[in-house]
Subunit: 386 residues, 2 copies
Amino acid sequence: MSAQFSERLRERAVQIHIAEHLRARLERGEKLRVKLGLDPTAPDLHVGHLVVLDVLRDFQDEGHTVVLIIGDYTAMIGDPSGRSETRPVLSAEQVEANAETYFEQVDLVLDRQSIEVRHNSEWLAPMTAADILRLMGKATLQQVMQREDFAERLKAGAPIGAHEILYPFNQAYDSVAVKADLEIGGTDQLFNLLFGREIQKAYGQEPQDIAVLPLLEGTDGVQKMSKSLGNYIGISEAPAEIYGKTMSIPDQLIEKYLRLISGLSAEEVEATLTFKPRDAKAALARQLVKRLHGEEAAARAEEDFDRKFRQREVPDEIPERVVSNPDDLVGTLVEVELAATRGAAKRLIEQGGVRVNGEKSSAETKLRDGDVLQAGKRSFVRIRLK
Amino acid sequence: MSAQFSERLRERAVQIHIAEHLRARLERGEKLRVKLGLDPTAPDLHVGHLVVLDVLRDFQDEGHTVVLIIGDYTAMIGDPSGRSETRPVLSAEQVEANAETYFEQVDLVLDRQSIEVRHNSEWLAPMTAADILRLMGKATLQQVMQREDFAERLKAGAPIGAHEILYPFNQAYDSVAVKADLEIGGTDQLFNLLFGREIQKAYGQEPQDIAVLPLLEGTDGVQKMSKSLGNYIGISEAPAEIYGKTMSIPDQLIEKYLRLISGLSAEEVEATLTFKPRDAKAALARQLVKRLHGEEAAARAEEDFDRKFRQREVPDEIPERVVSNPDDLVGTLVEVELAATRGAAKRLIEQGGVRVNGEKSSAETKLRDGDVLQAGKRSFVRIRLK
């Protein structure tokens, strides 16, 4: 990063606002306070989070301070309208337990000791009604309503709890409280990051620069990676899971994953992209396990995977099929034409002739997106869920 | 009111919500807490406020409790966006001085001793940010945006400070805090009154009934009576002012004023309406002064007015003219064709031949809406502003 953006930030940022300002500060050798917010209701990180964490690590390496904000305040209040199931009420203990879970994962990338950890209840809980009124007076309703999820719900006639208006204000005020110089987030955070600038200005602070990073698609190759969509690779998953899930991504995602989360240099990425897709994917999978579990675990995961699949002569090109009921293995065998009838499918299972990802299956086996379904020795289908 | 609505409430209410519920409570002889909110930034009452005050007096006479809420909380905070000039910041002393001004006027109608006076800072100031979040969680943004002034500004693209959303919540929460059974207000308060019901329900209270009363047009006969529009008759104005301003209202307002604010019974109103307009208006003017300053003052105001106008043979029917620059008496005389040229107008003024409401005028006299402008003995024009 010395005297410039890190290569990683320059290559990846969808938008830096204001780039000239940030560059000048870095060139002057200023030490920045780089803010990252954390939702303590969802502490499980997936590899998509590596996009942001890698950039933060670069800042740490250059002596800047990563300020991690645990949004415990609203988490402890929950959603007073009772409408949102995704915003459960957490006790202070749960918040701390979740934060610890979070740190264990973040630890894989960042230097935990040098992170400045703050809880936003520190400045939000003591606020009075008058303070809230003043805070909300810093922006118009129209500005807040530009936030994408508000705009969409308004258009769709879906209810927005009036209290929800407070959330972007709280999040923006966090930047005031920690005097953030730079905030980093995914493209879905653009409004919040910009709003932080506005509120800092209104409180007489120099507004933070912001760097917006791309969101990674999940293993389905379609939607953004998300635990709730089931298309994620968890940062703390076992080596075999990380390796296997990575091997299940569609080929067209290989390059993006390599560039954004492999941790490989640009040259290494280019070299890897000259491989056949199957081999490039294997290199990516090995590299991801290596980042998160070390070299040895990566080698073992690869060996295990190869033994199960390659040595059983799983072909490089497996046809993909979207299935309608992945919980019904018998019906699925008929649907993907690995069996002619449900009766034939049942017999095939009973005889041990059906494998999922190389493991013998029973009629109760439930299929997941990306699973390789095998009937007999030579028939393979990769399962896709819608 | 015994066992029923007061005749006054039944005759006047534009809407009672929920009328059956309120009637049943009154029939059961329940003693109600009847809420009225007061904006301490505008303590000057005009006769339009008598519509509400008379109804409240009826409730007092039947032993119900009028709960007067002084909205000191937001008045002391002001408008944090700095956008609104109509919402100045008041000190606690100013709030109390204004409240005293208000009480002196209310005293003309209500029994001041039995009013329960509350300041909403009592329950709003101790609220925490979490309390505000919970309060706002009781309604959706869409509900709040139905409030007429919000809806209009949204449509017109005029900014709405995000903090303004709090005001209806605060006002509604006042009903929770005082456990209001009934709230009374003008038609412009309909949203706020209904919103009070919603918030009471959300806090587990039986929602207040509401009675919505009509707004009175001002002396211009067009816009609602308002100090800022200059078309008002102040409750604490001098007898001669009240009498004179009342005599200046357009004839088509006489019936409405008689019915809504004269304090006369329905029979007396009917009898008065059989008079010629000039005499009905004089009866109204006398009655208003009598209500606010007593019988003797009313008689004297009438005599004074008559001496000035009727004895100077002011005709019953005075032509009205809208003038473009009421601050320019010379130009106005030409405009309304009481003088042929500015020079002639100036000479007429210098010779003492121009009177406004019977008083000799100088070239500096400024005209107001409803003034009677007289040139010589026989030429009269009633001035209308736009």
